[in-house]
Symmetry: C2
Subunit: 135 residues, 2 copies
């Protein structure tokens, strides 16, 4: 697939052409939320191929920075993420993926969301509290 080349800043920000802005590694951040709870499941990265495969298969694909390869989320664990909605932001340098999470959750540590710890607001944030239970 070809991405759009915006003709101006207003075309980038208010036009209808999808023109994801990749960083110098060829990646764009994506935040994935759960269609049922509304909460954030994880934050990851996509390259052009991950975007393409996500759109074609309607299942979340990311770019694994540790393995430096395309990552079809859940392909081995069964914790597939079915795409419900996919959004981009004003300057198209960030993506928001809304999914139906298959299996018990998304996090390799064993929690339903990767964001299972809150930063304490009481003592200027030196301390974390775990707020979810393992799946």
């Amino acid at each position: 697939m070809e991405f759009y080349t915006p003709k101006s800043r207003s075309d980038l920000e208010e036009g209808s052409g999808f023109a994801p802005k990749f960083d110098d590694r060829g990646l764009i951040p994506v935040t994935t939320t759960c269609v049922k709870t509304g909460g954030i499941l994880m934050q990851a990265w996509m390259d052009a191929e991950a975007i393409k495969q996500t759109l074609i298969t309607k299942e979340a694909h990311y770019f694994s920075r540790s393995r430096q390869e395309l990552w079809h989320k859940g392909a081995t664990s069964g914790e597939i993420q079915k795409v419900i909605n996919f959004k981009t932001d004003c300057d198209q340098d960030s993506l928001w993926l809304i999914v139906e999470q298959m299996g018990e959750g998304c996090c390799h540590v064993g929690y339903p969301s990767c964001f299972y710890r809150e930063i304490s607001l009481e003592d200027e944030g030196g301390r974390l509290e775990t707020t979810l239970t393992k799946k």
Copy 2:
């Protein structure tokens, strides 16, 4: 404030020490959601100072990559973001800030959220549809 230095991978992932992992620019991505709607308002970046000021003032501070400086969101526009909750993920390289958005919204283009356009799932994503109305 001093951040924690994890003693092991399990300490990083399951411990109670806040040890944000900054990239080679000294930045960490943060996704900001609205406590009222649950939706994502914006995705931005924090450096160590932005985290510190956010925790001290309980108002969102980011690092502006375009201006290369600390950015107290809403300081000039009035669109302050009051911190309700602040989370980190499993490997502590991403943050989730839940805020009460003051004013009419967060986006400089005029929408209540920066994510006002959906990527079409019908034609492999070449096209965007605007789904919010301006504030």
